[in-house]
Amino acid sequence: MNSVINKNNFVQSLLKILPSQCVLHEAEDLAPYECDGLSVYRATPMAVVLPDNIEQIKTVLTLCHTENIPVVARGAGTGLSGGALPLDNGILLSLARFNQILDIDTENRTARVQPGVRNLAISEAASTHGLYYAPDPSSQIACSIGGNVAENSGGVHCLKYGLTVHNIIKLQIITMQGEELTLGGDTLDSPGYDLLALMTGSEGLLGIITEITVKLLPKPAAARVMMASFNDVATAGQAVSEVIASGIVPAGLELMDNAAIRAADDFVQAGYPRDAAAILLCEVDGNEHEVADELEQAKAVLKASGAVEISIAGDEQERLKFWAGRKAAFPAVGRLAPDYYCMDGTIPRHQIATVLTRIHELSDEYGLDVVNVFHAGDGNLHPLILYDANIDGELERTEELGGRILEVCVELGGSITGEHGVGMEKINQMCVQYNSNELTQFHAIKYAFDPDGLLNPGKAIPTLHRCAEFGAMHVHHGQLPHPHIERF
């Protein structure tokens, strides 16, 4: 009852400072905002606020700061870790209306954009100048650049061109106290601490990003892709290391296992070898001479590494066909089972074969199929676990299997997330990746920006208390994983 009164009072306060079209509070208006791309987690916020201008963002933050109301930022809501999951005692701050490309500076090869601009829209706008924005998450037609910065998103071409953090130079942010700050600059470096790097990937916990200046690159004159088939997955995994060791940095190097190959081929008729245990798609780009040289070199290496068949896309149409299968892989796998769960761990490249074996064993143990299609070149796995949410307990088992896979990644020297972020989803696995001193250091950083803990609380960085509880759930052979953490 109390919370209803609070909610009504707070909505009234919002309506006093904002035009009514900027505040959603009726149940049917809130429903579309209950979750992000990870729909297994849902919550209804007190209100969704859709500001039109920077002043309104400041006003809202100031009000929330005074009233001690948590704020969750939302871009396009395509996040896969529950980062933009609302809190029922807070507001969801949507940046959707900040959708303007403010400036394209062809001389300095940069674009200044608002946070709600879609990733692909930047490359489209830059295209007439022969330029593009390099990071290309598969969700690029929908996801926002603000969300990309908050997650440090990657894509197929990150192996050569880097992640979001390598492709932005300046951010405007507003802190929870309503203060505006510029991080980075129009230059290649800035005085003071590298707050641009710190803000990138901070999942909406440190500030609201209100403007981004991205780097634009000249579009490469040429790009060629080859497809190499393998009789077993481990050999394909090893071939990835061989390619990199040979001194080539491919623009993309993706691995698909047999289940992924078949699903993609059924879905978009990509012309994949349906009986291969695995394929590697290896793309090289640059000027025509580089491309010709590297293509030859990559072909020789792949052959020597055990590829049984190699085909090089003859023209642009065939190149796009090869990629179509990879790009449609997730929806294609989606047709194999009622539901699938996408994981996102990373490992050192030389562990690809090992991790795939371990995933296979875990898949058998849990009786759930796992399909693998991933950014092999940078060791970023995306195991897709097939399940049926209508079967009692199957989602829980899926989540547990996912958690086990991530723990294997950490054990092999990798990380629990390469590009999708921790959000709500991997909050427990953070306790596996970091010890209590490290987590305490993270909290201290958060405190420096947001001492009241009002920006996206409960996400990305677990409390020690939470880790203690999680640890207690995972007592193996009587050993506590975090014996040094206080238990409450």
Binding site: E107, L188, G192, A197, G201, H289, H375, Y447, A460
Partner: protein, 351 residues
């Protein structure tokens, strides 16, 4: 050469003791970049003995080494496998260390084309101001678990933590690397360079001074040969990049009082009455002279650093930070180093 040794716990104990008695510490390794920051007080915390390559598998494109490892040792190991630190850390003396390179975050001629020190940092193990040993990031290319503390350490000059172990991404050496020189005025040099980059020529460094434009090209054999035939100019050896990187080029030996001006690359010619050398496709301009140029830098959307090689500075050399920014910097410093004992005042006197 001193042998490899892991002295992490000894160093952490020293910091712990300093923390409990609030004793400021001055982190010292090769001492090759003492000029790049304020002279500071404090007991010396010597990380020199913390050295050695911990892990290096060329196929991973990653090297992990202790902070006191001489840069020379790292670059030799990489060169044996046709790889390099692509940010070309500048200012080697034989004493310069890996930790010093990352702590100052400085980058050499290749920076504008392949990235800065911070771009290549993947993971660090550090001692914070309480004497705790903490690890962030890792040896993998992608890791978004937790805040990116490792990149934050690059350029923080030890004010947030003592670097112990660092993992950086490395890149393969190009098959062929050559230098072309041209005689141009500044505007023509800028326009030409820009056009070549747009055309896809594999430019990996640029330098303009005294109406001479030098351009380095790094790529496959046939790609570089193609550029040579297209661009013209005169081929010379690649020495100039070593001289620029380590600042032994005559411009740096003739002008010891310098300003390092960082501006948007397309910024028109500025401060024309000063002797200058321009790198990074226009983004980095070395300006000879004594008088502060902070205001001019700010007006150009850039920033300036007083850069007096081989002399210790006596006041904050870096572009002043605005009040809100400085406040946030102080809070962040507190977060890592609550007693303000690590390299206090090295970058800004209040940090």
């Amino acid at each position: 050469m001193t042998s490899a040794a892991d002295i992490s716990t000894t160093l952490a104990d020293q910091v712990k003791t300093a923390f409990s008695c609030r004793q400021p510490l001055r982190i010292n390794a090769g001492n090759s970049k003492a000029f790049y920051g304020n002279t500071i007080e404090g007991d010396v915390l010597n990380v020199n003995a913390h050295r050695g390559i911990i892990e290096y598998q060329p196929s991973e494109l990653v090297i992990t080494a202790r902070s006191g490892t001489p840069l020379n040792e790292i670059e030799t190991a990489l060169a044996e496998n046709n790889q390099m630190l692509a940010f070309e850390p500048p200012l080697h003396t034989e004493h310069a260390t890996f930790g010093g390179a990352i702590a100052t975050g400085l980058s050499g001629p290749r920076r504008a084309f392949t990235g800065a020190a911070r771009d290549f940092v993947l993971g660090t193990t550090v001692i914070n101001g309480k004497g705790e040993i903490l690890s962030f990031g890792g040896q993998v290319m992608k890791n978004v678990a937790g805040y990116d503390v490792s990149r934050l350490m690059a350029g923080a000059q030890g004010t947030l933590g003592v670097l112990l172990d660092i993992s950086v991404k490395v890149l393969p050496l190009a098959e062929k690397e050559i230098t072309l020189v041209f005689e141009f005025d500044q505007q023509t040099a800028h326009d030409q360079l820009r056009q070549w980059i747009l055309q896809g020529h594999a430019v990996s460094a640029s330098c303009f001074t005294n109406n001479i434009l030098s351009v380095r090209l790094s790529s496959t054999e046939s790609s570089v040969n193609h550029s040579i035939s297209e661009l013209g100019g005169e081929i010379t050896d690649n020495n100039i990049w070593i001289q620029l990187r380590h600042q032994t080029h005559p411009f740096f030996t003739d002008n010891t009082r310098l300003w390092r001006l960082s501006v948007p690359p397309a910024t028109e010619p500025v401060l024309q009455d000063h002797n200058q050398l321009i790198e990074w496709g226009g983004a980095l301009r070395w300006i000879a002279g004594e008088d502060a140029i902070y205001e001019q830098a700010a007006a150009l959307n850039g920033h300036a650093t007083r850069y007096a090689l081989h002399t210790n500075s006596d006041s904050d050399p870096f572009q002043p930070l605005g009040p809100t920014m400085l406040k946030l910097h102080r809070q962040l410093k507190q977060a890592f180093d609550p007693e303000l004992i690590l390299n206090r005042g090295r970058t800004y006197s209040s940090l």
